[in-house]
Amino acid sequence: MAVGVACDFGTALSEGGAGAGPALEGALDRAQLGDRAAFAELYEALAGDVERLCARLFGSRPDAEDARNEVFLRAQSSFPRYDRQRPFRRWLLAVAAHHCIDQLRRRRVEGRLFDAASLDEEALADAAPGPLRATLEAEERRRLLAELDALPDAHRVSLALRYFAELSYAEIGEVLGVSPAQVGTLIFRAKARLRGRFAEGGRS
């Protein structure tokens, strides 16, 4: 049965605490006892992901490097509220997402882009082509990434948060300030838009 094709990408890192081996589990224990060095160690292990997420959220602008430092400080100060039940990577990336969205909002007038109202206005893109093929040539992948970066903020952000940060709809909704159901719509619409643009670019 089709349902059996498990969708398990990234679970190695996202499930069960820090989920990246006993070394980081230990660091997580120490960090929760207030060991700042341990927290820094934890952060270093995932800083690459943080930077990449920020780059994606910013649409690959070079601000991502600054974000790495700023997210560290933010994460450090909100770490006492971290719930061990939640995978550390997801928690950290959610913090990073909060930070980046704040930055995007501050920099643009498009803050309303994430408003619930504007999400419902747009009609569903029915005529969009079907899902993208799983295998792409290197050149096509590059183009797809460029299209991803060029998507409107709300679309780009929702895709990055779902498929790179692997946040749940609820978590994404919390970051963007919309309901989980709206996140589902947003993601579906983002994918449709991406397909459309990718197909268009391929023809020209």
Binding site: C7, F9, G130, P131, L132, R133, A134, L145, T185
Partner: protein
């Protein structure tokens, strides 16, 4: 049952459908070949997206530098023409012997500058007691804080947190060391260390008159109209004082900006002064070097080591144990003068040097003429060494530029799309060139600010150098827009820009003007970058 819409399958694949809905749609899935295909395709797409999103962002970065430098085209000719005109006018003024009344117009005359500075300083001090000192203290604190913040920011970006914090702590520690505790600040109309009295520690005095008749067991930092030292200072003296009268003894060095310095006593160490008129009387003695910048310097006493002068007039009657090197309009070495080693004078006119036949010079005595382009404007183009020098310069600038790009790529992100922004940057650069040295001097005047001022000066000089590289990068990226943000593409553009600049700044006649415009422009761009970086500094944390 009609088919489930794709939007629902999208949520289903993301594992976000409520459990009862999952049972419903999975029931449909068993019987619907079409929907199974949709689900499989959505899963595959999900994998693809996750995969592509995980790729390193660097390889796909858009070029940082979009090379929009049209402002150069509109602004550069105007700036060059204007500055060329100014240079020509100033040149003419420099060359002409002005009537005495208009002498102050000649920019190379220091005449009156010291006096004006003092007047300004004391006027401010009189009107607002304490504010000068307060301002200096704020400037020092602010510059130290800015410096530490900058260093910390630059490090935190590259280095792991704890290490950076350690480094910052190591940087800050010496500043906060308890050594400063001995510092005493005195601010009153008259400060006096009476005869027979001993003052221990550093004396920081801001007063109308400071008189040290007793013993100061430490250094003195003095801002005053008048400073007289009849007693003894067992340390250094740093003074910004209109009149200095030294009949006593300073065991350390004397560093002073002053209008009138009369040295009848003894300075154990170096004496470095910016002065309108200085007299080292026949009883006066300086243990170390004497370096004097100013107008008239008369040496009747003894200088223990070298004498270096950048003055209008030097009169040497006394003894200098080692070399005398002086750049002056007018030099007299009288019969009573003794120079231990060489006497070298640099003047424009050989007649301006008068060395008495009775003066004793241990080494050689020579007069060098300061040349003003007598060689001809194109002579250096004939020397191979010149080209080698230019190549070395370009290579050095290229390496520095690459390093900067690797460390601070955004430094090169500014563009100049129109003439307005060109002139804005030029004006900013001009303001920086004028204001930064003034600010540094103000900071350096307080002794605690001295390290910050020196560091600031180093940074300032470095930024003057980087300014040229910055403009080269702008020109290069305009001519040869880099394909991506990689080091290779940028390097190529930088090299092109540097080559263009190397030619431009060595053009006969206009080369010098081009250089000035380039440095001002580059400095302006750097300042703008700094402004933006400051605006984007990390916000308060949640």
């Amino acid at each position: 049952m009609s088919c489930v819409p794709e939007s629902t399958w999208s949520v289903y694949v993301d594992g976000e459908l409520p459990p009862q809905r999952v049972r419903e749609v999975e029931g449909h899935l068993v019987g619907c070949e079409r929907c199974r295909r949709v689900v499989l395709a959505l899963r595959a797409e999900t994998h693809l997206l996750a995969d592509v999103l995980r790729e390193r962002p660097t390889t796909h970065r858009e070029p940082l530098v979009d090379g929009d430098a049209r402002g150069l085209l509109t602004g550069m000719p105007v700036a060059l023409a204007a500055l060329g005109l100014v240079t020509a006018v100033v040149g003419v003024i420099l060359e002409t012997r002005l009537p005495t009344g208009a002498d102050w117009l000649a920019p190379q005359r220091l005449f009156g500058v010291n006096e004006m500075l003092f007047d300004l300083f004391f006027a401010v001090r009189d009107r607002a007691p304490g504010w000068v000192e307060f301002g200096a203290a704020v400037a020092v604190t602010a510059s130290a804080a800015a410096l530490v913040t900058f260093v910390a920011g630059a490090l935190l970006r590259r280095v792991s947190g704890p290490l950076a914090l350690g480094l910052v702590a190591a940087l800050v520690w010496p500043w906060a060391s308890p050594a400063q505790a001995a510092l005493r600040m005195v601010d009153q109309p008259e400060v006096r260390v009476a005869e027979g009295e001993t003052f221990e520690g550093t004396l920081v005095a801001s007063a109308d008159e400071v008189r040290i008749a007793g013993v100061l067991d430490g250094s003195a930092v003095v801002f005053a109209e008048r400073l007289s030292i009849d007693g003894e200072v067992r340390g250094n003296v740093l003074a910004f004082v209109r009149e200095i009268d030294l009949t006593g003894r300073v065991t350390g060095s004397l560093l002073a900006g002053t209008e009138n310095l009369r040295l009848e006593g003894e300075v154990g160490g170096e004496t470095i002064v910016g002065v309108d008129r200085m007299t080292l009387t026949s009883d006066g003695r300086i243990g170390g070097d004497l370096a004097a910048f100013g107008e008239t310097v008369v040496v009747e006493g003894e200088v223990g080591r070298d004498l270096l002068g950048l003055v209008q007039r030097l009169e040497l009657r006394g003894g200098v144990a080692r070399d005398v090197e002086v750049y002056a309009d007018d030099v007299s070495v009288l019969g009573s003068a003794r120079v231990g080693r060489d006497l070298r004078t640099h003047v424009e006119d050989a007649d301006a040097v008068e060395v008495s036949a009775d003066a004793r010079v241990g080494g050689t005595s020579e007069t060098l003429l300061v040349e003003h382009g007598h060689e001809g404007w194109a002579a250096h183009f004939g020397r191979p060494g010149f080209y080698l020098f230019v190549v070395v310069q370009v290579v050095a600038a290229f390496l520095v530029g690459l390093g900067l790009y690797a460390l601070f790529p955004r430094m090169f992100a500014q563009t100049l799309p129109d003439g307005r922004r060109f002139f804005a940057a030029l004006g900013l650069g001009f303001a920086a060139v004028l204001l930064v040295p003034v600010a540094l001097v103000l900071v350096g005047l307080t002794i605690v600010g001295l390290p910050a001022a020196i560091l600031g000066l180093a940074l300032f000089l470095a930024s003057l150098y980087v300014a040229g590289i910055r403009v080269a990068a702008l020109i290069g990226t305009a001519l040869l827009p880099p394909a991506d943000a990689g080091l290779r593409a940028f390097g190529l553009a930088l090299l092109v820009g540097l080559a263009v600049l190397a030619v431009g700044t060595h053009l006969p006649f206009v080369g010098g003007v081009v250089r000035v415009v380039v440095v001002l422009l580059g400095l302006g761009l750097l300042v703008r970058h700094a402004q933006e970086a400051w605006r984007r500094r990390p916000a308060a944390h949640a």
